[in-house]
């Protein structure tokens, strides 16, 4: 399997966008080496603004630039955009519905060694509860690149979520990106796995394991958390016996709860969530943390079997 950084997809897309549209600006808050926006800076030094360690000022200043007609991509770690600068995201960007793109990296448990202080397992919830905010959680390098282009194309605030590590390249999700559309990447009629972000590869592996046990398994990949592709979810609820959601995020307020709400209001069926339990993370290597925090194919299979048996 090939592995690539999702944040590299973001950085590559920024440079491509920069070449096409001179209104595209990039801001960072002293983590340009980590978000990889330093690559944009190298090509477009005059359109890159390092704000220093100032996430709050950066997000409201980005709002100001959007008011002047620019398309600012403001970058930092997920935890600092949503937690440190949550008010700026809400009041300066989401409320006036400004054309600011918030591109964040080092999200989820795979942030690794830095530990709980840097592992944002809550940011999807914080972003998706803001009215007007579009929330995208791409699954691999290529989808990250495409999602960044799609975000630039639409007018309005977008939260783009990337990780730190290298993650499996998943060809099944390549070939196009439409905001708000789920990708049906495997047909099945017994059970549905809905994935977002890097959990897509675990979801596909889980489907293989379930097929071996004789269960026809559907995999629906949902890189857009908001607006949610409700019709794809309702279809899965109607056509299969239940749904397992998988996200590298808290089981609270993320994909799982969003799916469960749609299902229970439209076509109730069992929905089980795979994600980080309601607990802070800890230091460790990203892959061992995926094991320790129950974010593996086997964890998805376990929940699926619970529904099926």
């Amino acid at each position: 399997m090939e592995y690539k950084q999702t944040r590299q997809g973001y950085a590559d897309a920024l440079i491509e966008l920069g070449k096409k549209n001179e209104k595209v600006l990039v801001l960072d808050a002293d983590v340009a080496k980590a978000t990889l926006t330093e690559q944009f800076e190298a090509v477009f030094p005059d359109r890159f603004f390092n704000c220093g360690v100032q996430e709050q000022n950066m997000l409201s200043a980005a709002a100001g630039l959007a008011l002047e007609g620019f398309i600012p991509f403001a970058s930092t770690f997920g935890v600092f955009a949503t937690c440190r600068a949550g008010d700026q995201m809400r009041s300066s960007i989401a409320y006036p519905k400004l054309n600011v793109k918030i591109g964040v990296t080092h999200c989820g448990i795979t942030t690794g060694g830095d530990g709980a202080s840097h592992q944002s397992n809550e940011d999807i919830g914080m972003a998706r509860t803001l009215p007007n905010m579009t929330v995208i959680v791409p699954g691999d390098y290529e989808e990250s690149r495409l999602a960044t282009h799609a975000a630039a194309k639409m007018h309005g605030p977008v939260y783009l979520r990337f990780g730190r590590d290298k993650y499996p390249v998943v060809p099944e999700i390549h070939g196009g990106f439409e905001i708000g559309k789920a990708k049906l990447i495997k047909e099945g009629s017994d059970i549905t796995i809905i994935t977002t972000g890097i959990m897509v590869s675990e979801g596909l592996q889980a489907a293989d394991l379930l097929e071996k046990k004789g269960y026809s398994t559907r995999v629906l990949h949902m890189p857009t958390i908001k607006p949610l592709d409700e019709s794809a979810i309702i279809k899965a609820a109607k056509e299969t016996k239940g749904i397992v959601t998988a996200e590298e995020h808290s089981i609270l307020a993320g994909l799982g709860e969003a799916v469960a709400a749609v299902v229970s209001e439209n076509h109730p069926c069992p929905v089980h969530r795979v994600g980080v339990m309601d607990t802070f993370g800890e230091s460790g290597q990203s892959q061992e943390l995926m094991d320790l925090y129950g974010l593996r194919a086997k964890d998805i299979v376990e929940k699926a079997i619970k529904i099926l048996e």
Binding site: D28, D30, E38, G52, N57, C83, S117, G284
Partner: protein, 272 residues
């Protein structure tokens, strides 16, 4: 005045601390070596000479406190706390490992001797001034030492804390800015200019000293002077990031890069 013996003792301690820093980050293959090495002399002066503390009684209410507001520099505080005896030195082997109390960033509920959770830059100084106010309310008489990074003080929250400490006349607060002119993305005056720092802090109502952050005599003398002030004190400590390992000194790249095998060996050789 420090006598020669004490001076030698501190120098030696700082050298041991630096070796431990490099080893920990190398072993974990993750962590912040540059800012830890640069702050080693300040922490050595504090823990081995200045501060009133007792490793056997980490919960002693009237102990002096130290808050590592630049929370990424856990290697230096863990090395010092282990050497002082707050927890066994073998724990250092588990730095940044799952299940270890030695997390990437300070976790006060678990680590003996860690006085506040930090890691998000800017929060430590606010927690520190809150603790210092608490001590005053309880009529306790101890000092709160707070170490900020220079990049860190770009955060607005730091200046909110500065106003608060001035308003409540927190003369039990002695802060440091680890002025190494470097942060993640490079030279601080290019990333987000901070100079002139002395009048900035003065205008916020703090007494300010500017010193060499590697000179034990000066560090200790300045703290003695700071204690005589009737307002919060900020010590701008001019330091060299990566101090003690020649090829790391003054290099932004060693902010968060773990030393590979050959770098590790060279560093340990230099540190003796």
């Amino acid at each position: 005045m420090l006598n020669l013996k004490k001076h030698e003792f501190l120098k030696n301690k700082a050298r041991e601390v630096r070796k431990e820093i490099v080893s920990m980050v190398h072993r974990a293959n993750s962590g912040h070596v540059g800012g830890s090495l640069g702050a080693a002399d300040i922490l050595t002066a504090l823990y081995y000479h200045v501060m009133q503390h007792d490793p056997k009684k980490p919960e002693w209410e009237e102990r002096d406190r130290f808050i590592l507001s630049k929370g990424h520099c856990t290697p230096v505080i863990y090395a010092v706390l282990a050497d002082c005896g707050y927890f066994p030195k073998v724990d250092l082997l588990e730095f940044r490992r799952p299940g270890s109390h030695l997390q990437g960033h300070p976790y006060q509920p678990k680590t003996p001797g860690i006085d506040a959770c930090t890691g998000t830059l800017g929060i430590g100084i606010s927690t520190g001034v809150g603790m210092a106010l608490g001590a005053k309310l309880k009529k306790q008489d101890q000092y709160y030492y707070i170490l900020c990074g220079d990049g860190e003080i770009q955060e607005g929250q730091v200046w909110e804390a500065a106003m608060f400490a001035n308003k409540y006349k927190l003369d039990n607060v002695i802060g440091f800015v680890d002025r190494n002119y470097l942060q993640t993305d490079g030279y601080s005056e290019k990333v987000m200019p901070l100079d002139p720092l002395v009048p900035k802090w003065e205008s916020f109502g703090w007494k300010v000293f500017e010193i060499d952050g590697h000179d034990f005599e000066v560090i200790i003398d300045t703290i003695e002077k700071a204690k005589k002030e009737d307002k919060p004190v900020m010590i701008i400590a001019n330091t060299t990031k990566g101090k003690g390992v020649s090829f790391m000194e003054g290099k932004a790249e060693w902010h968060g890069k773990p030393p590979a095998e050959d770098d590790f060996e060279r560093a340990m050789q230099e540190l003796g």
